[in-house]
Symmetry: D2
Subunit: 377 residues, 4 copies
């Protein structure tokens, strides 16, 4: 029997049935008009979500393949700095180490503000390429894209920003924020299946593209093929995922980008209202420019409980929330609220979590469910 | 209105509806049992198709990503030789040039036998890694896996064989033939959607794996994650394609590997019988160890026609066959007969092609349709 | 954009994706083995759910077609009595009027106990056929199948019981309870799509079957065709709905009938616990043999509200509950909990309803959400 | 393993994948706008196909339910005449016998012209309602709708015409031809799944509608509910089949009615050209007003063969054609060419049939495959 657990994770997320049904399509020629039109639809919608005039290129691979495409095409043989306050910031650094002439980690505690002073020093010391994760799901923190973009541009460095879990769910302005390379994954805020990454590249970055990145991640080859009519990819694409992502993009277009982002903000507000009503601590430390994530909420597990018991209790209701990764295990729980998620899923998740919190013995101040309903109703 | 053209290409190929329906599944956790079991089913069936005791590793990427994984993990920094008698042989060489300390092309005319004497010389000169495309679809020729495997082993070189369009449709014995690294793509003989590559690796090759291949193609990371229980992939996989490939593998298991290969041989025989009945020339030059492909038939376009007219006439019947690539354009046409294709599709394709050949003014000797029916009936 | 409202109605109910995917099947011959096997699977599972040794016959039509098949094949030209305490009891009477020599309504207020004394008198006065609705969803009441069955048998009358919304969700024992003709619909507790009705018939009823019922509802023709190998229907069946119902039945088999009924009882208990916590009145008047329905809960709308406002407020959360029908409009609301519904849907519905009740100004005694969670967790 | 036989029958017919995918939709409220809009789309397209200004009513049941709805609502208690030259003409008579005050069969040999002189006499003798099957698939003959319509109108009789296998595939002009009640089934020329019948009714017929037809087939109730906004059905409809039929209707609209009928005529011509090339006899006897069916071709099995061998040989190629029914078994074979069928399926079927004919020893005059290709290419 299938596992029909409701996934309230920071990805993968539940997909609308239109998106899923799109994949049942019989095989089509990926060098023909039907495929090319699907690619074009994706690009049209993603441009709006990325906030860029450049056409995002779509790679048949995970978000990580998009991260590596960015680093290998623009950071290879160069001095790179990696801003880190969570797991995905660390992954960028790991990839940077394979390609950079020198890879400099600029680390903060997970979930705490990035160290922009160190970044400035590094840039003054000749760093040419900077990476940052916009929305760090491992810690539930939203990092300052605009501010870091300005600093990088001031020093003429290329700025690679991972928007894997923010693009499509939160404000993202690649061009205005001086983001040279931005990356999104299909299975997060876009509510499509896993399997595709999209990468947008500024003209400035194209001017500095390196030679001989991995053959499969050779962005100039993607650019050349995307310029054909009909649009193509250099290698055989994961056609069903393209068709699904296209459908997901059409749904986003129907909803409207502004509405979609407002909806994510509202969902985040509902969950945070519940956390406040419970008297439970949020995990991230925010400041003037670092905020709580609007696509995943990370809060602290009450003192008397642990990851297994806490999430196990929620799981009894058929709902899977995320725990903390690595050293945050047993310390935090995380509720994803991205993509096609709506009020019923949130109310159920908050109800199951509230029940669990009460069982730990934590003295709940007020009804989190009603607090969330007040926001959502 | 959707393009419902029947694709009789050397991939992508029509997929059974069970395979397509498998993708409509709601998002699942790719670190859970349902995904792990799907991966395990795939591996169990692929082992039989690859003819190996080793567990193939599955990459979320095209066949090309599998080719690059092979070359980058085992050829990087080494002296490589690339056997070439068609387009995909050339692609292996192109990838080799990005990683090898020295990449040596051993070229034959497309569709003619490989030069095994030159290969032997190259091995004697210190070549450490050899690549070959087993079934070269660009020319419709089946290259000698067993013979080349023996030569490589004799010189202690690693042998990388691209089985992208033979595995699942023709005999392939990785272990018996001394193939160290074999690669298959999901959208060819397996009749699954495009989007996955599987790579099997011999113990001998694992002993010689290099450091720091592309992060996304790091085969040791795939091996490590595949060893977990439930099985995992290092990065988020293209889940729907895994589920589709699993279903395709279950269908293969139900059909039986022997039966499947016999069916492909029968389909190839039917098409070749039609070609003979028409008095049209086959394109490849075979010899004692080089044979006609059993998954795609390449034959010569009659003198008075060209690619556009020829395939355009067949297309009027709603059937798409392939033409020649690069310099073979206007010279050959190719009919794919791989995967889930069966008698009705073949009869229709042969009928439309025969009608087209007659229209070119070519004097058809005998009914190709009845000749094919005699084989298939 | 599709309406993705969560339906918490007494049918139609959300369907598992396996059930929905089963319908994407290409057309099959409905006189072949694949169809016959599907029909046989349905019959095997339904026998358990009906509690009968007889093979239910499947009609391509709504539950109403099943009700009419029962009345027209066994009540035509006979004296019938119709027990009524809700809308569907009335419908049986309406159908009875088209076929009976005399149709006698035995009415109670909707949602109140049936008048079994009047039934006994009627039987003594020569009534030959009795109809009753087991689970009257219009009022949320479960009528006494066993008791009425005994009374009918004592007077040698045929007993037709509508199990449209109880079979598959609650205890139903056609043979033990002397039910001669029982009916179920596909889109209720079975969690399949609307479009099929199944009818089981006792040997005793077959002995009394009439001549010339409607041609399309001629049960002896269904019986004759179902006895073939492979099983058939007399007229072209709604094949995709059969395939979906088969899948729904296989899911029921996997869950186990006992487990399924327990799950329905638990869901009903959870909703009733919430209603009690809110201090809201249940609508039905129960007694020793009349109980609250286990598949739909009917409760009273608080004094200051009305149907439109009440259900409109719940609808804002993307959840549709049912209102009262006919004269019960504005008086009651009804929450369906049948089929594949599980904890998340219930928690969300109860949360949205609780929020709505609080907004009416009704003084909620306790948290209905936590009361329900206590039952479900 | 699924039976993937290609069905070349006079229904059920292969469905486009858009049609099949439409059924995977989650349950929706059948009293809401989404359902109502689907119903409205169906009606808009069917009006064009029926050739009527009246809105066809859709019943959740087979074509037979539509035939019975016509007879029971308009023929009950009246004197009826039934034109018969095949199996479905006989079925109309059988239904007529359940409702008419007197049911008069006017029989011809199957596949031969109807006896319109007898019809005229019957009308002069007071027959009030006449039934005819427009396209008699059992014999492959197309009966004269227009001529019979005129005769009926002249005598002021109601004319019920079964268009189950012509509407959507051939010219049908209900209003111009004086057809009072016309019926179509979903699984024939419309290329949707089995499960729905649609019935159009003239104003003249509504004026003569009877009381108390079967409750489930009560056409005035369908009319009343279809007039609501959103459109509804009186009883719970087979929602997935409605959604599929809607999609099938949209495909028809995209193709265009004229184009669709031309395509059917072309397919029929292709098959007849093959039959002529083979030197095989067509089965029906046509005259000035009786023609060969354009949706199914009935031809004679060669002398030395029989139904089982003949169709068994075609089946070996994975293609199912129809045989003769009842006394025509072993005498004829029938090839359906209706709905979404296109050139590849026809070429394959003709190739397999030609191979079979040659094997019987019948001396084939010319290549039927090339003759058909000449029409289709």
């Amino acid at each position: 029997m299938e596992d029909e657990t409701l996934l309230m994770l920071p990805g993968p997320v539940p997909m609308p049935e239109r998106v899923r049904s799109a994949m049942a399509r019989q095989a089509i020629n990926h060098r023909g008009a039907e495929f090319g039109n699907a690619y074009a639809d994706i690009v049209r919608v993603l441009k709006g979500l990325f906030g860029t005039k450049n056409n995002p290129l779509v790679i048949s691979g995970s978000g990580t393949s998009g991260m590596e495409a960015a680093v290998s095409n623009f950071g290879k043989g160069r001095k790179m700095a990696h801003l880190i306050n969570g797991k995905f910031g660390e992954r960028m650094y790991t990839i940077g180490q394979r390609y950079a002439s020198e890879a400099l980690p600029i680390e903060s505690e997970w979930g705490t503000p990035l160290n922009l002073e160190k970044l400035t020093s590094a840039l003054e010391d000749g760093v040419e390429v900077v990476t940052m994760v916009h929305n760090e799901t491992s810690a539930g923190i939203l990092n300052p894209g605009e501010e870091v973009g300005k600093i990088c541009r001031k020093h003429d460095a290329l700025f690679i920003m991972d928007g894997v879990t923010s693009i499509g769910g939160d404000v993202f302005k690649a061009d205005d924020w001086f983001v040279d390379v931005a990356i999104v994954g299909s299975q997060k805020c876009l509510a499509a299946p896993a399997g595709l990454a999209a990468v947008s590249v500024s003209d400035r970055a194209w001017d500095r593209v390196v030679k001989n990145p991995p053959y499969y991640l050779d962005l100039p080859a993607y650019k050349k093929n995307a310029a054909k009519d009909p649009m193509e990819t250099p290698y055989t694409p994961a056609v069903p995922i393209f068709l699904a992502l296209r459908e997901a993009c059409l749904i986003i277009e129907e909803e409207g980008i502004e509405n979609r982002i407002s909806r994510h903000h509202k969902m985040a507000k509902a969950v945070r209202s519940a956390v406040a009503a419970w008297g439970v601590d949020m995990f991230p430390k925010t400041d003037a420019i670092h905020q709580y994530s609007n696509t995943v909420t990370a809060a602290c597990i009450p003192a008397n409980s642990n990851d297994k018991d806490f999430r196990g209790s929620v799981k009894k209701f058929g709902i899977q929330i995320a725990g903390g990764q690595d050293h945050l295990k047993d310390k935090i729980f995380r509720i994803g609220h991205m993509g096609a998620v709506s009020a019923p899923e949130l109310l159920a998740t908050i109800a199951a979590t509230e029940y669990t919190i009460r069982k730990t013995g934590h003295k709940v101040t007020d009804s989190g469910v009603m607090a969330a309903a007040e926001v959502l109703g």
